[in-house]
Symmetry: C2
Subunit: 683 residues, 2 copies
């Protein structure tokens, strides 16, 4: 029987032919006719050449191959984008093919056959989605995409240096190649201050993984239609914006401006300085003050005007103003408190779950596409899209945040129309918070400290056509000193009760150093953690480590090396490990702060678990980072609206956060300090 783990070898060195050694020691032993045209005439020569070196030969069954014409319609050296509808359909078809094959052995044959014929990035995406969602491949630990496609994550110079290192220096004497921190712009560009956020490997991996867990399209609607998927689209991106704005405050920049006039030039330039190894092209830049243009690109089956985007957004605003959307049958679907945001999420994103794509269009995706094609809107110059066109790269671009600030403002248009939470909806009778503190070994109480750290990632899986052996890239990222929340909760009732502790961090003052109003601050509240506690009658002292956050995944999980750092084979953890690739990177939990300290407010609430709980059988999927990613095969583990209690405006007598508080909430001033050194952990 075929070993499902061999499927993972198909992710190795995506541009190298299938018959070349994969992993440390394996070669696929494939039927002659599986060879592509270039190699079929010299098949014997090649199979001898590469087969002989291998310790392990993996037999590949010769089966009848399903019809691959649709996936083959994307050129092998094209750039593949989930934002382009034609590509989504192609990917959807390929996912169906991989999902539809009955056995692991047959899946291996189909995938082996398809691999050298299809676009490598499309192949990686569709096979990843299939392995994540097939029952018989659960627990397979898909290699991080940064390993297979390092070119999407780093300065193109690194790849050249790696080529030199592995060609010249034997394994054992190799040194990691440094990914420079300041390669995409200089300090003359104020936006460049945010490089560590926009270009962070972990953040971009999170974004990619999120879209892997939540595909836009598949023949099996269940893969797309996950619980509260639309709402999570809204919330995850809203949180990215809140985090981004906190980083802006950490760099003396004002909140990001919405890109709400599509006729305006986009002030922010971006020069990615990255190559696509699949397309053998660099990622096109966007110059300062580039404008959107009407798109007419037959190659992408796109003919859309800027006016189309404007019409879609006008219709969405109208729907929100009227309180309902109109589905394809003409029925009114109310945008109510419970389902409204989820419907809007599906409709704005949009996925195949949109209630009426022909009326409301494909706003969010197409915004990405318009921005990514602003340099070549009619394909005159045979250019592919810029970084905004790919979910692994779009967060590098300052325009991402301007576009999502606009998208978020549409969601907020809905949210601000909802009735503010009443005291009853906020309070937890007889439960009050009496004290909150964050502390760490090195810092004073209520001081958080960030610094720079360097970490290595093994890229040997992604470097095509170079000698074998490990080779590492070393990148610089933000890090913080781990800390602990200590929360004192008084249960005035007589019985044990359960509460959901919700922890948010927000800025105390705005960019003009004024204290913030609730209506503004609520949009900047970053979720740090959410967890269930048992409350005994009387005083309870809750201690929670920052590394336990429901938002984040640990470093090793973000940059997982398939061969290391993983749970033991066959253990339940192994089975679930995979889904946990989705999650905000732990090293970015806390904004950078300022050298003299960024004044923040840490908000803690304990809500009534009876009102929050989702009744599902226990156990199940990875529970590591459900806040932004949900749980595999399960409902979202919190019945409240995502972002509660900050997702709505406050009741009318509340101007600021202090006034918003009910006894089961507490706020404490926290200072986030940044130490410019690297690896220093002193406070």
């Amino acid at each position: 029987m075929a070993n499902k783990k061999n499927l993972l070898l198909l992710f190795d060195r995506p541009n190298e032919p299938i018959f070349v050694q994969k992993g440390k020691d394996a070669v696929f032993d494939l039927p002659e006719k599986f060879l592509t045209d270039r190699y079929s005439s010299i098949g014997e020569l090649l199979q001898n050449r590469f087969g002989e070196q291998a310790e392990r030969r993996i037999p590949v069954k010769d089966i009848s191959i399903p019809d691959l014409r649709i996936p083959l319609s994307l050129a092998r050296d094209a750039q593949f984008s989930l934002f382009i509808p034609a590509h989504r359909r192609i990917a959807g078809r390929l996912i169906d093919i991989f999902m539809g094959v009955h056995s692991i052995g047959d899946l291996q044959s189909v995938a082996v056959y398809a691999r050298d014929r299809l676009n490598p990035y499309l192949f990686n995406y569709a096979l990843s989605v299939a392995l994540l969602h097939r029952k018989d491949t659960k627990g397979l630990n898909i290699p991080s995409i940064v390993q297979s496609f390092p070119c999407k994550f780093m300065d193109s110079r690194v790849l050249r240096q790696i080529r030199e290192e592995v060609f010249i220096v034997p394994e054992g004497s190799r040194m990691p190649i440094i990914i420079p921190s300041d390669y995409s712009a200089s300090d003359l560009d104020p936006e460049h201050r945010l490089w560590y956020f926009r270009e962070d490997l972990g953040i971009n991996l999170h974004h990619w993984h999120w879209h892997l867990v939540y595909p836009f399209e598949a023949g099996d609607r269940g893969i797309v239609n996950k619980d509260r998927r639309g709402e999570l689209f809204y919330y995850m991106h809203e949180q990215i914006l809140a985090r981004y704005n906190l980083e802006r405050f950490s760099n003396n920049l004002a909140r990001v401006l919405r890109f709400n006039n599509l006729r305006d030039p986009i002030e922010e330039a971006y020069f990615p300085k990255m190559d696509s190894l699949v397309a053998s092209r660099s990622w096109p830049p966007r110059f300062k003050d580039t404008k959107l243009s009407d798109l007419n690109r037959p190659v992408d089956q796109i003919q859309l005007d800027v006016s189309d985007l404007e019409r879609w957004s006008d219709r969405i605003f109208s729907a929100i103003a009227q309180g309902f959307v109109t589905d394809e049958s003409g029925n009114q679907v109310p945008l109510d408190e419970v389902r409204g945001i989820d419907i809007l999420g599906n409709l704005i994103e949009s996925s195949i779950l949109s209630p009426n794509q022909s009326l409301y269009g494909d706003l969010h995706n197409m915004g990405h596409v318009f921005i990514s094609y602003s340099h070549d809107p009619d394909h005159s110059y045979l250019e592919s899209f810029g970084v905004m066109g790919d979910s692994t790269t779009s967060m590098r671009d300052p325009a991402f945040y301007r576009w999502h600030a606009y998208i978020d403002s549409i969601f907020q248009e809905h949210k601000t129309r909802l009735t503010p939470y009443s005291l009853f909806e906020l309070n937890y009778t007889d439960v009050s918070i009496t004290g909150v503190q964050v502390s760490s070994k090195q810092c004073k109480a209520n001081v958080l400290q960030t610094f720079w750290q360097q970490s290595d990632v093994d890229l040997s899986r992604g470097m095509d056509f170079v000698p074998r052996g490990d080779v590492f890239a070393r990148f610089t990222h933000l890090q913080h000193i781990p800390f602990t929340y200590t929360i004192n909760i008084n249960n005035h009732g007589g019985a044990q009760r359960y509460g959901t502790v919700r922890i948010f961090l927000g800025p105390k003052r705005d960019e003009t150093h004024k204290e913030m109003l609730f209506k503004d601050q609520r949009l900047l509240m970053v979720e740090l953690d959410k967890f269930v506690v048992s409350l005994n009658p009387g005083q309870n002292t809750i201690r929670r480590r920052s590394s336990e956050s429901s938002v984040t995944i640990p470093f090793e999980q973000t940059f997982r090396n398939v061969d290391k750092n993983r749970p033991g084979e066959g253990s339940p953890e192994e089975l679930e490990f995979n889904f946990c690739g989705c999650g905000w990177p732990d090293h970015m939990l806390i904004p950078k702060g300022l050298p003299d300290g960024l004044c923040c407010e840490l908000f803690v609430m304990v809500s009534d678990y009876d009102q929050d709980r989702i009744d599902e059988p226990s156990g199940g999927a990875c529970k590591d980072a459900p806040s932004y990613c949900g749980l595999r095969d399960r409902r979202y583990p919190d019945r409240r609206a995502m972002g509660y209690p900050f997702d709505r405006l406050a009741r009318s007598d509340v101007d600021n956060l202090a006034q918003f508080l009910t006894p089961n909430m507490s706020v404490v001033d926290v200072v986030v300090r940044h130490d410019k050194g690297t690896e220093k952990q002193k406070c």
Copy 2:
């Protein structure tokens, strides 16, 4: 004694360290301390690893190395540009160092030491100039730069495919990689019709080689100050424009417009789709309608405003209007018929020969720089220059021709002020042309035929960090059926005389299909050939093959393979072979024409050799293509103004070419037909 030929190995695989095998079988055996920092700690390991394979070890003397600080000031992974003054100074210094070393052995030591420390392109340029100009390295056959830096000449995809081919397929079974013809734009861009001219390997090699023969700057002024260098700058570029315009007529496009308002957006976009392997960056594109901006790039030591360019050109126009330039001492230097154009050439280009750079600036070079930095004028985005910034790549860009059309119009402002040639200056007493015909085996008389041809170029010298062995790229270029001029000349005098035959081709009609006026047509006259004939009394029939042109070099010379296609060792031809790398590529002698035929006029003149001749000892440098390149160590081999008789306006009674003719001239209608097929040679 060191073998000077080993110096040529230093051009191999410019990014691979010096201790790796070079050429087919050689390794430099260098002093330990020559290793760079990265490799010095594992020197023994590496020297064993790479040295053991080599059949031939080349000893490298440990000598005291000259001060390399100035050349080292250019980063190894920077882009190097001859148009940037600071880079010219750096290159000038390095040329001096290479020229100043006394023996071949010492030069080898200095070059070996410098190679892995300096910018590889700077190194290639300065070493090439030195080898071309040192007495003891004459006759060394420098590898074509397309072999060392293929990335400057072709689609980046080709390089990836080559990597795959050499990694996967053993030598012997390798196939040439096809350079696509239509990769930089689509037919939606009308300018793209000229791809075969702008992106031709031979044309770009010519341009590079021209600037190698005519450096802007060197400590040894003699290297720069070649006979009529300034005039040749004017004339060679004027001819490029005339040829470009004939190609435009061959593609139903109007003549190129001058870029004479520097505040206008540049309508023409260009997306090079090439990588720089030195910088590990792609060549930045220029979007449609990009404007020039004031430059402030400390990294390049450039702080200049668009107004500076405008002021320089105003001053140059004033000088022309007044008939003199003012030198640095305040003296007036007349712009007369003999020296004026040469002075203007030096001043506009400009080189260190400019009579007053502080007054007249650096117009032509800086125009290249402004255009090449229009995407990042203040280095905010850490971008290097676009293709306009490098002489090997600038001719790919439509903006090159717009800029040079403007530059040429300044030269013409001077030329139109000169007294038209008198009949006396044009005529050749007692000599008349009685017949002109062009013919070929396949075509009717006076029909020229072009078609597409594919040729291969070996890139193994330029592919760093891949396995050894030949690997070819196959490119498509224009070609024409070779033809013969038959010219009947009547010498009415009683004695043998000598004449210079001057052959030009020009369009018969303009872009609106009107017959051309002399004043316009003269600017479109393309020199096809110029040669001296002996005229016996009575009728003379001159036959001359197109391949003998004084403008062109044969295909093998453009794409010379150092190991093949070369004269025997030690032969006089070998000694001179080198300089002959400069020359218009033979395959581009004739414009493409139109499928139904482009109507042209072939102009033939025989002038009095006594008025033309330059008295110099016979023999000497390569005589292959002096018209655009001059002759090594000699004066330009024609005393007349370059472009004569079309370099001035015609006498007042002449409106068209027919009226311009004197008996020693003749014009015949010629049709240039284009066959869309490849390699078909039928008419």
